[in-house]
């Protein structure tokens, strides 16, 4: 990979839930990593003394990984979360492996099947629809 694939993401560091990209086939499939650490600010409150990565942030991490499959330079918003399942808690020290595959799309909408695992054990899965939201244009497809 010639340039850092993470530079494709529009998110700032304060809201980035993908740390590294292992494999990227543009428009098709991506494998990315997220290291969950005790220093993650959201874990201070979820929950004090019992840090667990919030399920909604697992979805966010999966959505960001899926977003890596969109055309470079595009910004997207979540349009649908389907069949989301959370199989076990993700805690500090876990390295989450996120695998996203593009299932298809229509207009500005793209659908992905995304799975997250820790040490080979599934932790979450969902089908996500992202809506490409090009600046200065209508967001609705």
């Amino acid at each position: 990979m010639d340039s850092d694939p993470l530079s494709r993401l529009p998110h700032g560091n304060a809201f980035r839930f993908v740390d590294r990209v292992l494999e990227l086939t543009p428009g098709t499939r991506v494998i990315a990593l997220k290291n969950v650490t005790v220093g993650d600010p959201h874990l201070q409150g979820h929950f004090p003394g019992n840090p667990i990565m919030p399920g909604v942030l697992l979805v966010e991490a999966m959505a960001q990984a899926a977003g890596l499959l969109l055309p470079e330079g595009s910004s997207a918003l979540l349009a649908q979360i389907k069949e989301a399942r959370f199989r076990r808690p993700v805690v500090p020290g876990d390295q989450m492996r996120i695998e996203a595959e593009r299932l298809g799309g229509l207009g500005a909408l793209h659908r992905f099947a995304v799975k997250a695992s820790v040490e080979g054990a599934p932790v979450a899965e969902a089908e996500l629809v992202l809506a490409v939201n090009d600046r200065g244009r209508e967001g609705t497809p």
């Binding site: 349009a79 649908q80 299932l103 799309g105 229509l106 207009g107 909408l109 659908r111 629809v129 497809p141």
Partner: protein, 85 residues
């Protein structure tokens, strides 16, 4: 053709959360107009992926989708025109 129509009806019933049952709509009921079923773009994507899986027809272009996904009848006609079903 009748068989295709039945399968399209089945697809709508199973893949979409419709405000009406498929028995309450005709083959000509507009799927996306507010006066019809009032489906939205996410429903359209769901339908496109469902039609690809069920019938092997591929719709990628938005303009084609708007034309094809007008009603149960137009979907069935498109499937037949593609030699599928």
């Amino acid at each position: 053709m009748n068989d295709i129509v039945q399968r399209v009806r089945q697809l709508l019933a199973t893949r979409l959360k419709l405000a009406k049952t498929v028995d309450e709509i005709t083959d000509d009921t507009p799927l996306f107009a507010p006066t019809g079923l009032g489906l939205d773009s996410i429903d359209a994507l769901e339908l496109v992926l469902g039609l690809e899986k069920e019938f092997g027809v591929v719709i990628e272009d938005r303009a084609v989708a708007i034309r094809v996904l007008t009603s149960i009848k137009t979907i069935a006609e498109f499937i037949q025109s593609q030699g599928k079903g």
